[in-house]
């Protein structure tokens, strides 16, 4: 829309200003993480070094980084494996009432997860699962309804003729699923994996309640515990730790960005 130039310049100026406001806390984070003598101000670092990052990757905090990777990758892979196994039959066998069942499950998941946490905690305590494995299993349970719905919609788009052709040529069910259905719904699987990965990567409440030792914390709880401590705030260390913690979530998004958009479209296709 080519309106008069003055308002459109004003709009551009306002947009640029908004972008500046949005980015400034982030710029603060990056400059502080690089400054070995950081005091929490937005200054050009007096000297640039990676010492904060080496601090953040060693010892207890390095361990927490590995914990987070283990938790997020484990949850995502478990969710995809379990959901694929169930979504394929759901997509091929038209059971009566199955879409009602699926939507009920999805609606059920809209309830605050804080509500289900009390029974989850009791069960995990009785099974001796008050650790990261327990968090991964609990998160898989919570992810499942949405993952099922999404994957079923993707499997529905794979033409059944292809599978029939493969069946005629002697492919087993396992081969059909792994060689035809899964490659053709790559986008959907990537989306489910991404959502589960970032969900588990960001998750704070479950590990806060389930994990009781510093060495077992994922980064979310680790960072919270570190800046909750009183006394001299080590801004440089915390900033570097934050950058490391934020990086994978951002990287995964940009890697899967194209698949993501297809996936968003898939959510709305049909029930």
């Amino acid at each position: 829309m080519a309106g008069s130039t003055v308002p459109s310049r004003l709009i551009a100026l306002a947009l640029a200003f908004a972008a500046l406001i949005w980015v400034s806390p982030f710029a603060w984070l990056v400059t502080n993480s690089l400054d070995p003598a950081s005091v929490g101000q937005l200054n050009w670092p007096s000297s640039i070094s990676l010492s904060n990052f080496t601090d953040a990757l060693s010892g207890k905090s390095g361990m927490q980084f590995l914990n987070s990777i283990y938790l997020a990758a484990g949850t995502a892979t478990l969710t995809v494996a379990v959901a694929t196994g169930a979504a394929y039959p759901l997509s091929r066998l038209k059971l009566p009432g199955q879409s009602v069942l699926l939507w009920t499950l999805v609606l059920l998941r809209l309830l605050p997860s804080t509500g289900v946490i009390v029974p989850l905690f009791f069960t995990a305590r009785n099974l001796g699962l008050l650790n990261l494995l327990g968090v991964a299993i609990a998160m898989t349970i919570l992810n499942l309804p949405f993952a099922l719905l999404l994957l079923k919609n993707f499997f529905d788009t794979v033409p059944i003729e292809l599978e029939e052709a493969a069946y005629v040529e002697g492919a087993s069910l396992w081969q059909i699923v792994t060689r035809i259905v899964m490659p053709m719904s790559r986008a959907g699987i990537a989306v489910v994996w991404f959502f589960s990965f970032t969900g588990a990567w960001n998750e704070f409440l479950l590990p806060l309640i389930f994990v009781r030792t510093d060495a077992g914390f994922p980064m979310s709880v680790g960072l919270y515990a570190a800046f909750g401590l009183n006394g001299a705030v080590k801004y440089g260390f915390l900033a570097a730790f934050s950058v490391l913690y934020a990086a994978p979530a951002i990287a995964v998004y940009f890697l899967l960005r194209r698949n993501m958009n297809t996936g968003f479209a898939g959510v709305g296709v049909k029930g």
Binding site: A16, W28, V82, L144
Partner: protein, 277 residues
């Protein structure tokens, strides 16, 4: 198939259990963690007779209304509408800036905002001290507004993405036709675009209301619900009752109440989605 069935049953079982808990006096530790008993609606009566719940509900309503409904969706719409159809560098810059907020883990955002709003932080340095005013510990003195601003910063990207997709789906001809008929910019937005994307608005409201109403980590990590109970939203209130005070039965009643409120709001939005005026 089998593992999925087991886990789905587990989910149903846990949900049912959460409902059942809300009618007991179960506690986290002590004698009542083993010898608990059914207490009927006592927990629900306490929601209204004891202090805490109603206050937390009001805080949650303020938080949801200002950060999600007013902040995120209006700003997201303004961003989407003002950059509609543009392919400029500025648009990419704004998009990346918004997405950064959204992609940052909750706890990192909380750290960022606590540090930025402290009395030696960025906001004091840029916007308060240069005017000759005394530095303020913003997070202490204006806790709720700061938490609301942090959540707007974090969540606007979602509304922006949704409204961008919605505005892209409006055909150019409709907008051109209204322009030929003499509609000005404001009328084009309020009389043409908004009615067309009405279902998208309702969907967006539905999602962000549910998320914001039950949102926990950002506020908890920034303020822990304080100072006092100034930022104690329902999710934090429930966590404090269940895991800090150990009153699991009462906590379960709080979460059932949250579920009912969210359910009623959802029905309201879904009706808005279906019926045109």
């Amino acid at each position: 198939m089998l593992p999925a069935i087991v886990l789905i049953i587990a989910l149903l079982y846990f949900t049912g259990w959460a409902f059942a808990f809300s009618f007991t006096d179960l506690t986290l530790t002590g004698i009542k963690s083993i010898n608990w008993s059914w207490v009927g609606f006592q927990n629900y009566i306490r929601l209204f007779t004891r202090e805490g719940f109603l206050g937390a509900l009001w805080t949650t309503v303020l938080f949801t209304f200002f950060s999600a409904l007013v902040g995120q969706s209006v700003l997201g719409f303004l961003f989407a509408a003002s950059m509609r159809g543009s392919r400029s560098l500025l648009r990419s810059v704004v998009e990346v800036a918004l997405m950064l907020g959204w992609l940052l883990p909750d706890i990192v955002s909380a750290f960022l905002w606590s540090a930025t709003t402290s009395d030696t932080g960025l906001i004091n340095k840029v916007a308060i001290i240069p005017f000759g005013l005394k530095p303020v510990n913003l997070l202490n003195d204006y806790a709720l507004p700061i938490v609301i601003i942090a959540n707007i910063w974090k969540g606007t990207a979602w509304s922006y993405l949704l409204f961008t997709a919605a505005l892209d789906s409006i055909s150019r001809e409709v907008v051109e036709a209204s322009k030929v008929d003499g509609a000005n910019g404001w009328q084009r937005i309020t009389r043409v675009m908004l009615p067309i994307i009405r279902p998208h608005i309702a969907t967006n409201m539905l999602f962000i209301t549910i998320w914001t109403f039950t949102y926990f980590p950002l506020i908890f990590a920034m303020t822990g619900g304080g100072p006092g109970d100034a930022t104690s939203v329902l999710a934090i209130f429930m966590y404090q009752q269940s895991f800090m005070l150990g009153k699991l039965g009462y906590g379960a009643a709080v979460s059932v109440a949250m579920l009912l409120i969210v359910g009623v709001l959802s029905i309201f939005y879904l009706r808005m989605l279906e019926e045109p005026k």
